[in-house]
């Protein structure tokens, strides 16, 4: 479930990355930690990043800002899985006894109230069996799992205390 448009942040982030840090230096740093072995690839991202922004626009047409228990709440433009909002948590707090994966993919959602695009971190809450409530499952822009950064079937709890998926949350990073 879960993993979605990690790439959405890439269009702006990659631009900023280019200004401040070379991709090679990040990979080198990673290499040190991992001691070899490829992990989730950073590339290619630009094209699908643009494609995803188009989807965000599509989603925004019917999005609302009042009821976060509905799949069309504005922040959920790239959310796949059970809404933490329905499971004893909120869009940005994990339900009691579950813990956010510090890793996340990032989406760009448009808030229909101000028409602005915002970066949203889709940090899953992990450590309990699936909540089972309010499944919001999108497939727009979704890719097979050999492109994991765009696949929503993966249990995206890497780095959380447990790899058991509980629910999906949606944390504001800031304006895109």
């Amino acid at each position: 479930m879960i993993l979605d448009a990690f790439d959405r942040m890439m269009e702006s982030a990659a631009r900023q990355l280019a200004q401040r840090s070379s991709r090679r230096s990040i990979l080198a740093r990673l290499g040190t930690v991992l001691a070899g072995g490829a992990i989730l690839p950073l590339l290619p991202v630009d094209k699908s990043g643009r494609a995803k922004l188009a989807h965000a626009n599509e989603f925004a047409k019917t999005a609302q800002t009042k009821d976060p228990t509905q799949c069309n709440y504005w922040r959920y433009c790239s959310s796949d899985g059970y809404l933490c909002e329905c499971c004893g948590g909120t869009m940005n707090k994990c339900p009691p006894g579950s813990y956010a994966s510090p890793t996340s993919w990032i989406g760009t959602c448009i808030n229909p109230d101000d028409g602005q695009a915002y970066l949203i971190a889709y940090q899953d809450c992990c450590g309990k069996d699936s909540c089972g409530l309010c499944p919001c499952l999108g497939t727009e822009g979704e890719m097979p799992s050999y492109r994991p950064e765009l696949n929503n079937d993966i249990i995206w709890c890497f780095g959380a205390p447990s790899m058991v998926y509980h629910c999906s949350s949606q944390v504001l990073i800031g304006k895109a």
Binding site: M9, S12, A13, Q16, L17, Q19, R20, S21, I26, R29, L30, V33, L34, I39, L40, C86, C87, G88, G89, T90, N92, K93, C94, P95, P96, G97, S98, Y99, A100, S101, P102, T103, S104, L119, A121, Q123, C125, G127, K128, D129, C131, G132, L133, F158, G159, A160, P161, S162, M163, S169, V171, L172, I173, G174, K175, A176
Partner: protein
Amino acid sequence: MPVEGGRIVSGLIGLWLATAAAVVQAQQAPAIPAQMPPAAAQPTQEDHPTLVLPEPSPRWVYVLEPVFPYLVVSKVWIFDGDGLAVKGMINGGYTANAVLAHDKSRLWLAETYWSRGSRGTRTDVVTAFDTKTLDPVGEVVLPKGRFLVVPKKHNATLTSDGRYLLSFNMDPAFSLSVVDVEEMKYLGELDTQGCSLAFPTGDTSVASLCPDGRFLHITFDASGRATKTELGEPFFDAEKDPVFEHAAIHRPSKQGYFLSYDGWVYPVSLDGMPKVGERWKLQGAGDEGWRPGGWQLAAFHAGSKRLFVLMHEGGPWTHKQAGEEVWVFDVERKQRVARHKLPHHSHSMTVSQDEKPLLFAITETAMLQVLDATTGEEKGHREGVGISPYLLYTMGE
């Protein structure tokens, strides 16, 4: 607020460091993210903490489901009776039993696991959960096992001072496992001599029900050894009209109401050796054909001295049939004071212990209903409480 490039970049690095950390952690027992390197945090404008509950409200209900037919994964749902929002969930093992602490700080599950899901090595445990964080905060292994059965409320209980949890066991020898939940330590087994279940009667004592219709009462010491065992007189005919296991028990007032298949009410004082009062009947003139029935079919509201019972129309051996109505009795006058028609027939029911009590009832189609316990007015319902909810618990009961 515009996001600074630097924050995004460190977020990216954090992402990869975190995943790298996961590689290291994968084979370790889960721990709280304190082990994550500081750079692992994804910088966001909002924090992303884990929600911590306030002290549980008496108007919350804890719903236990064994999850048929996936019995190795039971579940506890926590709902706020006012609005039926999910407050949280707890995952349990095979046919778990739940016990709530008197001081509301803990929920214990007596539960069973196998090392490979439904196969492998069996382990029986009492697990302590913090009722605010819902984290497991301790575990005691039950070396002699526990009674494996479709969950019944009185398979486990807590002594009056809240120090000892007693878990009924039939392996197939009959006993009560004694766990010191303050020290989180297993103390031993109390031989129940063929009697079953656990009803609280004091700080260091417990009662069980015997197959011939009497109570066994065991007093034990701080080492978990029986110091005194008393056997009462039969108070019902276990052949012709047995009492339901799901008596309405109110722990703080040490009062219990045992109901028979035919509708007799046996008031029992559970202060020390159980004392059975004069029995009276649920049905009066004109109630022919009505019977008590269901699973958790009775509840007692101590403040108003009201007994609530699930009732249905049916013949003999319909003791597990879902209730069509809840009948409300004044236990002092031994008279019915209300009949609440249930919008949906329910097999289990309880009431909250606050001054304006709520009545919770669950259906065999996994719907949770809330009624005003006094007026019977429907206050709401919620479908899809898992697939097989069985038991209801409230704080202060």
